[in-house]
Symmetry: C2
DNA sequence: CGGAATTATTTGCGTACGCAACTATGTTTA
DNA sequence: TAAACATAGTTGCGTACGCAAATAATTCCG
């Protein structure tokens, strides 16, 4: 039984919306559990390692890392603490601004992400990328890029306005 | 600086992937905070009310509700407890199987979702649906439906294999 | 220069969740 | 029918997170 006095989404719209939400949710859970099972890394932790591995000198400021990961500052503090405890990352006072901290990948952290990346990348490919032709993938990206840009303007979520371009 | 010894995603693939992940993450956060700000309902709680409002007699078994919400059984127990505390839902022993519980929308719960739905629906429309032509929306759904079906086969995430069809 | 405002990060506290163990009821089987 | 098994839901416990307040360093003015 449905409540009729509100303007619900049309069936097509509802289907698009629920497909999107379910897909994301199940996919993320799967990518996470694959990494946890094989490497003891949550996808959240993995994400930190990826951003560091892409950074100049394998090193990034805490706040930038928080923005890249779409997590709060305090959330990042704790997430990084776990990685430090595992020896994958080290934290150094930023020489040019002593309020700030640089998170830096250790050799062990680098080795760990080199070990884990193929699993994660394979997951992203198998469950997502491989389902699209090259052209469809481009279409798909265009579909989302506009809405994403709009959302980033509307929210004050702390995210940088441009996504990393590589 | 990038690690070269692993087979990363191609730039186009990486862009598609990150656009998707960021879009979902920011959109969900926005929809949640809109609901919390105006109605004191998290999107997780809202989701429960929606499923109940669509159910026969506004009533569903706990486990089914958990599957629909992609949440663990214990997660649903607690989520429902919060809704019961707010008087939006009531819980009754299932007459045909006394192990089971039926969650049922109260009048207050029904009123609350009728009040909150327009805000949520407007958000889904403004941030997502309205960005697509009717045809693109259909394309988009087709893009995701296949991967979603595959994922649901591979995982044992407790989700029902068919999504609700309305 | 020196105090006020700003910025970077951490800490205290509360919330939402998953897993594994538990309770209670129902089903199967010998 | 009684014991073994299965199923529905809850509870204990640990984890990851966000918000707001606290701390520390820097910048901005007058």
């Amino acid at each position: 039984m449905v409540v009729d006095s509100v303007h619900w989404l049309e069936p097509d719209e509802l289907k698009a919306w629920r497909t999107f939400v379910r897909f994301d949710s199940i996919l993320m859970a799967k990518l996470d559990s694959d990494l946890v099972a094989k490497f003891g890394l949550s996808i959240a932790e993995y994400e930190v390692l990826v951003h560091l591995s892409e950074a100049e000198n394998h090193e990034l400021r805490m706040s930038l890392l928080a923005d890249l990961c779409l997590v709060s500052r305090s959330g990042l503090t704790r997430r990084l603490e776990r990685l430090v405890d595992q020896g994958l990352v080290e934290k150094n006072i930023c020489p040019s601004d002593r309020r700030g901290m640089n998170a830096k990948l250790t050799d062990i952290g680098l080795a760990r992400i080199i070990e884990a990346a193929p699993t994660h990348v394979a997951g992203v490919r198998n469950y997502f990328i491989s389902k699209f032709s090259k052209e469809d993938l481009h279409t798909f990206t265009r579909f989302l890029a506009g809405p994403l840009a709009d959302l980033q303007h509307k929210t004050d979520c702390g995210a940088p306005c441009d996504q990393p371009d590589d």
